[in-house]
């Protein structure tokens, strides 16, 4: 299985959310994903990065977000990692919505095929999302969507 990876690091500030969306859009388009899948990926990466912006660095307000995009034959993996306060939860235990941005996590779950939230080596939060390349042509999504 072939894989191409893109790694981006940017300040954990709201004005950089657009940059994250542009990066995901570029990689997804290169993979040939359709409009609905690209829209889902933009939403997922924004919600994950927004959580980092809002919660990761409560003391100084300054920090970095690492975004890794791994394009594989059948999927796109998105990893959003901060190096901040962490979510103070045991690994493997899904956080409740109130702990991670209200509607954000449910929205991510709705638009990606797999979601895992854990702790990085430095105690920050790692959000790992996977979107399968289903091959649905643009505009051919299910009725009602």
């Amino acid at each position: 299985m072939s894989a191409e990876a893109v790694h981006l690091q940017f300040p954990a500030r709201a004005e950089y959310l657009l940059l994250a969306r542009l990066a995901v859009t570029g990689v997804a388009r290169r993979m040939g994903l359709g409009g609905k899948e690209v829209a889902d990926l933009k939403l997922a990466v924004t919600e994950a990065c927004s959580n980092a912006v809002r919660h990761a660095y409560p003391v100084t307000g300054e920090g970095q977000i690492d975004l890794e995009l791994v394009a594989r034959d059948d999927r796109l993996e998105l990893v959003v990692e901060d190096h901040g306060a962490g979510i103070r939860l045991p690994l493997g235990v899904p956080p409740s919505p109130s702990e991670l941005g209200g509607m954000g996590i449910p929205l991510i779950r709705a638009v990606v095929d797999d979601l895992a939230i854990g702790q990085g080596s430095d105690g920050g939060t790692v959000v790992h999302m996977t979107k399968l390349a289903t091959g649905i042509p643009e505009g051919g999504e299910q009725a009602g969507v």
Partner: protein, 144 residues
């Protein structure tokens, strides 16, 4: 500000306001509505209600991206307006944007219309009757 316009493929966030009749404010949103811009919209909605608007229409036709922070700003607006969500109407013609309201079940909170004209007509009925107005066949958006 109004001419922020398209910058290599995306639209700069901006709000435009129109008052088509006394007591009614239409706020048109353009660009990406996310954590970076949600507070500006939320503040504008509060201002609209503070200024005495009885009907607020938020036109999302020009929105290219919407996330939970944008939805939160809209929720704050409708709570501020009070007196029935029918006087707080959203114009949401884009299926991708509308899908967020369906995922979060907020399509049961916000009256959604496909065009500004439909939203204004429904808002006028609500204002004149003083009662909530239900979507009728051929008006607004079919919700399932």
């Amino acid at each position: 500000m109004r001419d922020g316009g398209t910058v290599t493929g995306w639209t700069e966030f901006r709000l435009e306001e129109d008052r088509p009749r006394p007591g009614t404010i239409v706020i048109s949103v353009h660009g990406d509505l996310d954590l970076h811009s949600a507070d500006e919209l939320g503040d504008r909605l509060v201002e609209a209600v503070t200024d005495g608007a009885s009907t607020v229409v938020v036109d999302l036709t020009g929105v290219e991206f919407l996330d939970s922070q944008g939805l939160g700003a809209l929720l704050r607006g409708t709570r501020r307006l009070g007196g029935g969500a029918e006087r707080f109407r959203l114009v949401v013609p884009d299926p991708q944007i509308r899908r967020l309201f369906e995922i979060t079940a907020l399509d049961r909170v916000f009256p959604l219309d496909e065009t500004r004209e439909q939203a204004l007509a429904a808002g006028r009925r609500a204002a004149s009757s003083g009662q909530p107005v239900s979507d009728r066949p051929g008006e607004g958006m079919t919700r399932t």
